[in-house]
């Protein structure tokens, strides 16, 4: 902080632009560095309060004794968690949600990787049509296709199996994932791959050895997107899974929400169970997410 203040006193106009000593790399441009601190901390603090009070509230309800109106969850009790996990079958829901999330992640990433590579590296007859289809599918509301989807899964005898939810989630994740991944691949110079072919790799090996490692941030962004979405999404599971043992976490939460007399402690504990995996994934990938987006989403 002190060094920055010292730097700031150097008059910018004193030296010709070309002769100016190079800025430290990684430092944000000067002009915005001169924003007064309180211009950052004041709005940020207000926004932080808005962000964190709801989180605090749910923790408060989950951890304090039933009937208490204290604003501090003390003494801490875990009875809401035990109740939700065992009596409200959140244990089962949790397993189902993990299964749906992980399989959706794997399927989406694999299928989108293949499709994205084709779009990034080849010209072929139906390419424009395919890309148009990807774009248009963004306007198709998944919620509104519930009835035909239900009929399809009924035909396939997949009602009440997690497979139906996994398939539906994967399909609705695909368009955006393909677009993102193809943009990531476009950012990897084609000449790198060609060099690998010259060295005797076939297309697949060249891709695996040269391109795939460079795609890591993009793949993490796309995969985590797929996981978080399928973890959170609720209508497909609500519609296609009538058997309670097959249900996922969001449906369990909805059951708690729509109960005649809402058990607030149970609702809060269920909400925290629903949030934990997503928060962990999110904390872990945050760094890649921003770079992933700036490479893929925006330069498309």
């Amino acid at each position: 902080m002190i060094t920055k203040d010292a730097e700031r006193t150097v008059p910018v106009t004193s030296a010709p632009a070309a002769e100016e000593p190079p800025q430290r790399p990684g430092k944000v441009h000067r002009a915005w560095d001169e924003v007064p601190r309180w211009h950052i901390y004041l709005p940020l603090s207000i926004y932080l309060v808005f962000t964190l009070v709801p989180f605090y509230w749910i923790l408060l309800f989950a951890l304090r004794k039933p009937g208490s109106t204290s604003l501090v969850p003390w003494p801490v009790t875990f009875e809401h968690f035990e109740k939700v996990w065992n009596e409200r079958s959140f244990g089962t829901y949790f397993q189902n949600s993990v299964l749906v999330g992980v399989v959706t992640l794997l399927m989406t990433t694999l299928v989108a990787l293949a499709g994205g590579y084709a779009l990034a590296r080849f010209d072929f007859k139906i390419k424009r049509g395919f890309m148009l289809a990807l774009l248009c599918s963004q306007f198709v509301p998944g919620a509104l296709l519930l009835v035909p989807l239900f009929q399809i899964f009924a035909e396939l005898q997949m009602i009440n199996s997690l497979g139906s939810v996994i398939l539906a989630e994967t399909v609705f994740q695909l368009p955006l994932s393909i677009i993102l991944i193809s943009n990531f691949i476009k950012n990897v110079p084609y000449s790198l791959e060609e060099a690998a072919w010259v060295d005797g790799c076939n297309r697949f090996t060249a891709f695996r050895v040269v391109v795939l490692p460079l795609l890591r941030p993009g793949l993490i962004a796309v995969g985590s997107f797929a996981f978080v979405h399928s973890w959170n999404h609720f209508l497909f599971a609500l519609m296609f899974l009538s058997n309670q043992e097959k249900q996922t976490i969001p449906v369990g939460l909805n059951t708690l929400l729509s109960a005649d007399s809402v058990d607030l402690g149970a609702l809060a504990a269920g909400g925290i169970i629903a949030a934990v995996p997503v928060v962990i994934v999110f904390a872990f990938i945050q760094k890649w997410l921003i770079t992933g987006f700036s490479a893929g989403a925006v330069k498309g």
Binding site: F130, P141, A143, H233
Partner: protein, 311 residues
């Protein structure tokens, strides 16, 4: 298709030099899984929705089932006041929600793009609601808005508002209450996308502007905003489509109530098909929603001159 390909084949061989190392079928093989999945689970359902929109189709009233022509559409536009109400509410919801999210998201992104002590933690914290689902958002805000034990009680103790009112069951407050709940998780979405793009702006531009004596406001207007344009256009469109289509939050937060004042068109469609089993009519409403979305998106992209000079 197959025949056309077979006919076209003979004179083709040496056409493409670059891809000579690979079979010409490879790109088709690569997109096949995605294309098949989307054909089966998006394209086919869409077509069947169009088909059902022209039918009377209600399993609970089988004697009426059959070809309906445009009856469903006529009914929606001329006889169903609920349709217009939900359409108006959808528009209001999307416009208010997305513009507020964009505004706050842009401000938030500009703030956390600065260097300051605790930036990484600050970013992680303010972005965290982005990961929270519609249902979970509802759960959290139901707790907050609870008339007996929610934040209202403590605000009432401080003299703001009155104790015992539930903002979600009052027609005059439910809209704002739902908007705030959705802002909570929507603002970080914009902030993340805009921040990603902010970071790709070359620092040289600002340094050059600084040397030329441009003020920070001018730098923002002439460097930052033009650079962010495409990202803003795209994220706004995606978010608007998403906010329009998404039923998770309102379904679980307000259930469309009280008295139907927070029922969006998609929520109305879900009720019509799932609860009332009126699949024909729901399909017609779906078709209308789809056309509206497509039309608005095209107009929006045209007006905003998306992609402009670059491609």
């Amino acid at each position: 298709m197959a025949q056309a390909a077979a006919v076209a084949k003979p004179p083709a061989p040496p056409r493409r030099r670059r891809a000579s190392a690979t079979p010409r079928r490879l790109p088709y093989l690569l997109i096949a899984p995605a294309a098949l999945l989307m054909l089966g689970f998006i394209a086919y359902p869409v077509v069947s929705v169009f088909y059902y929109s022209l039918q009377h189709y209600n399993p609970t009233k089988p004697w009426r089932n059959g070809f309906a022509g445009f009856d469903n559409f006529v009914h929606a536009f001329t006889e169903d006041p609920l349709f217009w109400d939900t359409l108006v509410f959808s528009a209001k919801w999307v416009i208010v929600e997305v513009s507020l999210q964009l505004l706050f998201g842009l401000a938030l992104a500009l703030i956390v793009n600065q260097t300051f002590v605790g930036r990484a933690l600050g970013r992680a914290l303010v972005f965290s609601p982005w990961a929270v689902s519609g249902v979970l958002t509802s759960a959290i805000w139901v707790l907050l808005y609870n008339s007996q034990t929610g934040i209202t009680r403590y605000l009432a103790d401080m003299g703001i508002g009155e104790y015992g009112t539930s903002w979600l069951s009052d027609t005059s407050t439910v809209f704002s209450a739902a908007i705030v709940a959705d802002l909570w998780r929507g603002v970080p979405f914009f902030a993340i996308l805009i921040l990603a793009d902010l970071q790709s702006i070359s620092k040289d531009l600002y340094e050059a502007a600084e040397v030329d004596g441009a003020s920070r406001v001018r730098q923002f207007v002439h460097i930052t905003l033009p650079h962010l344009k495409d990202a803003i256009i795209l994220s706004t469109l995606l978010r608007a489509v998403w906010e329009f289509n998404n039923v998770d939050l309102l379904y679980t937060l307000t259930g469309g109530g009280p008295a139907g004042v927070t029922t969006t068109l998609p929520l109305y469609i879900a009720n019509t098909s799932v609860d009332a089993h009126n699949f024909g009519y729901a399909s017609a409403l779906t078709t209308v929603a789809f056309v509206i979305l497509l039309f608005c998106s095209m107009v929006y992209l045209r007006l905003s001159k998306f992609g402009g000079e670059s491609k």
